[in-house]
């Protein structure tokens, strides 16, 4: 065997070893890459819907399986003996290549047949090169391209800094500049805009003209009373607030907020007036008539006793606000609190065109932007005396 033939044989074995290594690398990468792609897809979905996980965490999670597969594949480098065995198999050399390589490795003592084997190997070397070249897989692992490209595209995200808007605050403590959030989903427990418009229109139709409220303590009703939940769903907190304020809360409460309070349970807190036993209270029967005839009568929600008749102007405003369908109990409390503020003087015959009450203004933050704008618009129109 000449040195050139020896070099050719060594190069042949190196080529086979490299191809074996690449094949092992591919085998190790397949599960990692596909796993990473799955993580990337699931994480991207979660990030799009929920905002978590962070994009950098997602990229790291997605790349981790592929990198692990890469590490395993890099460690799976075949030994020279494995490469020779594979080369012998690919070249169909019937162990002649293997024997020649073993002899060239120079392990003494050389058997007497060594020169014959080496000579045969030198003659067969071109044939082996052709066969191995022909058997080398020509097709690339196309199945790996889509997940691999996705992962490669995700890899640069690791180097990116998170945008400022995603942080909780800036370094100086000021709120980050966040633009108007138009796409914020409305709270699930708030009425939709359409129902809000319908309520507004119904309230405008049914609400009598702003009548001055007498000092006899009649409580004007409204559509909000009819719409509102029954006394069964009134919260003790809301009743208590109403009882102390002496006004009728207009805010409907949800069953969830009611906490399963019943009139009996609410009575001690709010001291509700019972219809049949209300003889000396501040509320009269006419008040009941005005209050509405719905099945959810307001007996349980009418506070008795120390209730202070509301100021007329407050009454008008509250009536219309109540017709607006404040959806939250908190809003109702707020209204009640606002109404319970002492207002000096007598009530005018009409509600003066005034700005939104302060309690309502602060409470508008609970609304969605669209609702907030709608209420503001409605308030402005009400102040201008325009019909709905």
């Amino acid at each position: 065997v000449t040195p050139a033939e020896r070099t050719r044989l060594a190069r042949l074995i190196r080529r086979v070893r490299l191809s074996l290594w690449l094949a092992a690398l591919g085998r190790a990468l397949v599960p990692g890459v596909w796993g990473g792609a799955l993580i990337l897809a699931a994480g991207a979905l979660a990030h799009w819907r929920l905002g978590v996980p962070d994009i950098q965490v997602l990229a790291a999670l997605a790349c981790a399986p592929a990198l692990a597969g890469l590490a395993i594949g890099l460690r799976a480098r075949p030994s020279p003996e494995t490469a020779v065995l594979a080369a012998d198999r690919q070249a169909e050399a019937q162990a002649l290549l293997l024997s020649a390589w073993d002899l060239l490795a120079g392990r003494p003592p050389q058997p007497a047949g060594a020169p014959v084997v080496l000579a045969q190997a030198a003659r067969a070397l071109p044939i082996w090169e052709r066969r191995i070249r022909a058997q080398r897989p020509q097709t690339a692992r196309v199945d790996l391209w889509p997940p691999l490209l996705a992962l490669l595209a995700a890899l640069p995200l690791l180097a990116l800094q998170p945008p400022r808007g995603e942080t909780a605050g800036t370094a100086d403590g000021s709120s980050p500049a966040v633009g108007p959030v138009e796409a914020d989903p409305a709270p699930t427990d708030s009425p939709s805009l359409q129902s809000l418009v319908a309520d507004l229109r119904r309230a405008a139709m049914e609400t009598p003209p702003a009548a001055p409220m007498g000092t006899e303590g009649k409580v004007p009703g409204g559509q909000g009373e009819d719409r509102g939940p029954s006394a069964d769903s009134a919260t003790p907190q809301g009743l208590a607030a109403s009882g102390t304020s002496g006004t009728v809360p207009r805010a409907p409460t949800t069953q969830a907020q009611a906490g399963g309070a019943d009139p009996q349970a609410a009575a001690p807190a709010g001291n509700p007036e019972q219809a049949e036993g209300s003889t000396g209270g501040p509320f009269t029967g006419s008040g009941q008539d005005v209050a509405g005839t719905g099945p959810a009568s307001a007996e349980g929600r009418r506070p008795a006793g120390q209730g202070v008749p509301p100021a007329p102007e407050r009454h008008v405003a509250l009536t219309r606000q109540g017709a607006g369908g404040k959806p939250q109990t908190a809003a109702g409390d707020t209204l009640g609190t606002a109404a319970s503020e002492p207002v000096p003087g007598h009530a005018p015959s009409r509600a003066p065109p005034a700005a939104l009450p302060q309690g309502l203004a602060t409470d508008l933050t609970a609304f969605a932007p669209a609702q907030r704008r709608f209420v503001e618009l409605w308030s402005a129109r009400m102040q201008e005396g325009q019909p709905q």
């Binding site: 065995l85 162990a95 002649l96 024997s99 073993d102 392990r107 058997p111 014959v116």
Partner: protein, 317 residues
């Protein structure tokens, strides 16, 4: 030249024993590897004729021993006889037995008593016979080809494992197919071709072939593969090997590689290949493993179990 000699030898034997080409090749493998061969098969399959044909083709001195229960060791190895010389003095003279031949055919070896069987041990292993404290070397080359009948077990003495291990190969003589039987009629209906076989190779040529077989290159990975194969017959190494009570001995490894070298030579190669090992694996290993009682009761056969082990071993190459 070696390949041509081997081809001529195989052709001569195939002309005498029709339809047993594989058996002929395996017998030649054992002989050229310098080992002893145990032939197992039903009566009438041509075992004795094959050995006679081999001796005739190689021009070897053939001795035949028909084993019976009353066969004594001296009947095989030889004995001392009281002789009277010309001057009237008497002395003990060693008369060599039939074992002093190049090729010894021991027919139905399992019918001999263990004592007689043991007499063959020294001859097969050491190539000598010790009589009255005197060593008598056997002629070179020396082969023992024994036959046994697997069916008739009554009145037989199965060979002990130590005796079996001395045989390089154990060959099963299969029944010939229809074409083989027809061809046999054409050549051996009225006469035995083995009796008239002319010599094909000289003893020197046989020696040269045996020397060439020792020159075959065995790569290190193939040596390790042979070791793996032998070790895989040991109980506990696999589920199949769990049915073996004892695995193959180190002598089995030597037999495996020696036989495989001859196979490579017969294939015209100067190097060993895994296929050579595969071809001789069963003949080398089948009589060197011992089945458990449970496996024997379950009807397992050593050939079947070894076949699955060899198959799995080939997959790992």
């Amino acid at each position: 030249v070696a390949a041509a000699d081997l081809a001529r030898l195989r052709g001569a034997l195939a002309g005498a024993i029709v339809g047993q080409e594989t058996l002929i090749e395996q017998l030649l493998t054992g002989v050229l590897a310098g080992g002893h061969v145990l032939l197992e098969g039903l009566p009438g399959l041509g075992k004795t004729h094959l050995v006679k044909a081999l001796a005739g083709a190689l021009g070897l001195d053939l001795a035949r021993v028909q084993c019976t229960p009353d066969l004594m060791p001296g009947d095989i190895t030889g004995s001392e006889l009281l002789t009277r010389e010309g001057d009237g003095r008497q002395r003990l003279e060693f008369r060599p037995g039939p074992v002093f031949a190049n090729l010894v055919l021991v027919d139905e070896i399992n019918r001999a008593t263990p004592k007689t069987q043991a007499a063959l041990l020294e001859a097969m292993q050491e190539g000598q016979v010790t009589q009255a404290g005197q060593r008598h070397p056997l002629p070179r080359p020396f082969w023992v080809v024994a036959t046994q009948n697997p069916i008739e077990v009554e009145g037989t003495y199965p060979l002990p494992e130590a005796q079996l291990d001395r045989f390089l190969l154990k060959l099963n003589v299969d029944y010939p197919d229809a074409a083989g039987l027809l061809a046999m009629l054409a050549v051996s209906l009225d006469e035995e071709p083995a009796d008239n076989l002319t010599q094909v190779l000289t003893p020197e040529a046989v020696d040269r072939l045996m020397a060439l077989a020792r020159c075959v290159v065995i790569a290190e990975p193939l040596k390790r593969a042979a070791v793996d194969l032998v070790l895989s017959t040991h109980p506990g190494t696999s589920e199949v090997a769990r049915r073996f009570r004892y695995g193959a001995s180190p002598r089995a490894l030597q037999a495996l590689l020696r036989s495989a070298r001859v196979q490579a030579l017969m294939a015209g190669r100067a190097h060993l290949s895994p296929a050579d090992l595969t071809r001789v694996a069963l003949p080398c290993l089948r009589h060197r493993v011992l089945l458990t009682i449970e496996a024997e009761l379950a009807g397992d056969r050593a050939d079947t179990l070894l076949g699955s082990i060899v198959e799995r071993w080939r997959g790992c190459l």
